[in-house]
Symmetry: C2
Subunit: 291 residues, 2 copies
């Protein structure tokens, strides 16, 4: 729906191009559950009647798509979209009696959240002395309205939220929805508000980064940027282990069990080293000694 | 701190490069307030004593940076980072008695939110019959812990959250913080967990998109993708006005006043057209007439 999608020279897309896109895409995680949820949602709503007619279903897409440049994706090309249009439109479709499949980019605007603070919903709530959660007075009305409308939509079974990040996930889930929507014919609508990339990088052509050169790069960064320490991690084990590199040593920091944050031990180490550093700096200041 | 930052061939950065980066950057919005907040935060904390020593201050950076490819930014190159490392580390620094300046990418992980559902905090709350907000039983403990720790950090004045999106904002705010941090010498620490792009596109070299060709492109999209309607909008007025283009007409849809969503009128129009379409489709089904 968004004219931004049309930027760039239009190219004809053949059936073979489409086939080749889906064949080259990485497998969709949890695809069985996504298909099941979509099918159930459409079936249930097409059986429910309101004002003498069956419920209409709209698929609203929302937010930008990412085009990964690496298989274990660190860098990608993105289309900006806050997701405001899709989230707000979802609210109005629900109000008009539609059942909405909200296919949205992870982390973008959510329906009924428009009048809440942008960054942390935690700012809207406080604990009373007896540990009861309550909405802060300044946000109370907006929070209550948001919770009421959101719960109503979910409880009436009128809102199915499905998240995606990459262009692969977006198109794969959209295809799943399109196949299920066939069963309701003209009672279905697609409202494509997502800002979709008009290109992609084929999955198998992407270069893997080499974990062997990690520590070497960390050593270089230490010298180049004149850091006291560099924390090196591999993408796949970044929540389990990091290596802290300084000019004098390399220390592997691991979490001790699955429910622990590796950051607990990492920050302990940094706080300890910082204290020693402050101590040494004040010795220099007092005696002029270079440490 | 993150080894991902070191990817790519290391190049020496001269003072002239740095100068030229800041000179070519778009002006930082709200820079006066950002500077004031940072200065006050550091001054207040450096004056407060705990266990016989002044409070230590750490600047934690978190999340990826975007490199805009257009001045009115629709497309950009991004570095992936959930912001988990920065957000979790912030919690442990606060626990260790540090005051934390949390310089984070908009929309990434926030401190104390790690154990809450990923997408919508609204899922954690419900309204009782007398319209009191309460945490859903399944999330109650996690929500209470999050609110308690978050409020404690904010109320003790130990957490200053500053958001950024682009590489320009990130480096401009980081410079503001670095200048203010000088006053506390070795008691300050920089913990740079953000995944920072190692390149940028100079602001003045970017091409503007031409609003005049918007409707022409929308017309093309309508035919190319065989849509029933295309909604065209300009980036700067997208929340005020859109044009709905079909094969038979162009309809400008505007909000009537500032507190209204343009989506209200847009969805009204689409729901109405959809009803006509369903009606026509069933006529076709009954009579075989082509409409």
């Amino acid at each position: 729906m968004d004219s931004r999608n049309g930027l760039g020279a239009p190219q004809e897309t053949s059936d073979a191009d489409i086939e080749s896109f889906f064949e080259s895409a990485p497998p969709l995680r949890d695809s069985f559950n996504v298909s099941r949820k979509v099918k159930e949602f459409i079936e249930r709503n097409s059986r429910s009647f309101e004002n003498g007619r069956s419920t209409r279903v709209v698929c609203v897409t929302s937010g930008g798509t990412t085009v990964p440049l690496e298989q274990r994706c660190v860098r990608f090309i993105d289309n900006f979209s806050s997701g405001h249009r899709g989230a707000t439109s979802t609210e109005y479709f629900v109000k008009a009696g539609y059942a909405v499949i909200f296919l949205h980019r992870r982390g973008t605007c959510q329906p009924y959240c428009g009048s809440l603070p942008e960054d942390s919903l935690l700012d809207c709530f406080e604990l009373t002395e007896d540990s009861t959660v309550q909405a802060c007075p300044s946000h109370a009305e907006a929070v209550k309205r948001a919770i009421r409308n959101h719960h109503a939509a979910v409880e009436e079974g009128l809102l199915l939220k499905l998240p995606y990040t990459t262009i692969f996930e977006y198109l794969q889930i959209l295809r799943v929805i399109a196949i299920s929507m066939r069963s309701i014919g003209s009672c279905g609508m697609f409202y494509l508000a997502a800002a979709v990339s008009d290109f992609y990088v084929p999955w198998e052509s992407m270069l893997e980064t080499d974990p062997k050169i990690l520590l070497e790069k960390a050593d270089k960064a230490l010298r180049k940027y004149k850091m006291h320490m560099v924390v090196a991690n591999e993408l796949s084990t970044r929540n389990e282990e990091v290596v802290v590199i300084s000019s004098s040593d390399r220390i592997a920091v691991r979490r001790e069990h699955q429910n622990e944050d590796v950051e607990k031990h990492l920050i302990d180490l940094l706080v300890e080293r910082h204290a020693v550093y402050i101590e040494k700096s004040s010795t220099v200041a007092l005696t002029g000694e270079v440490v």
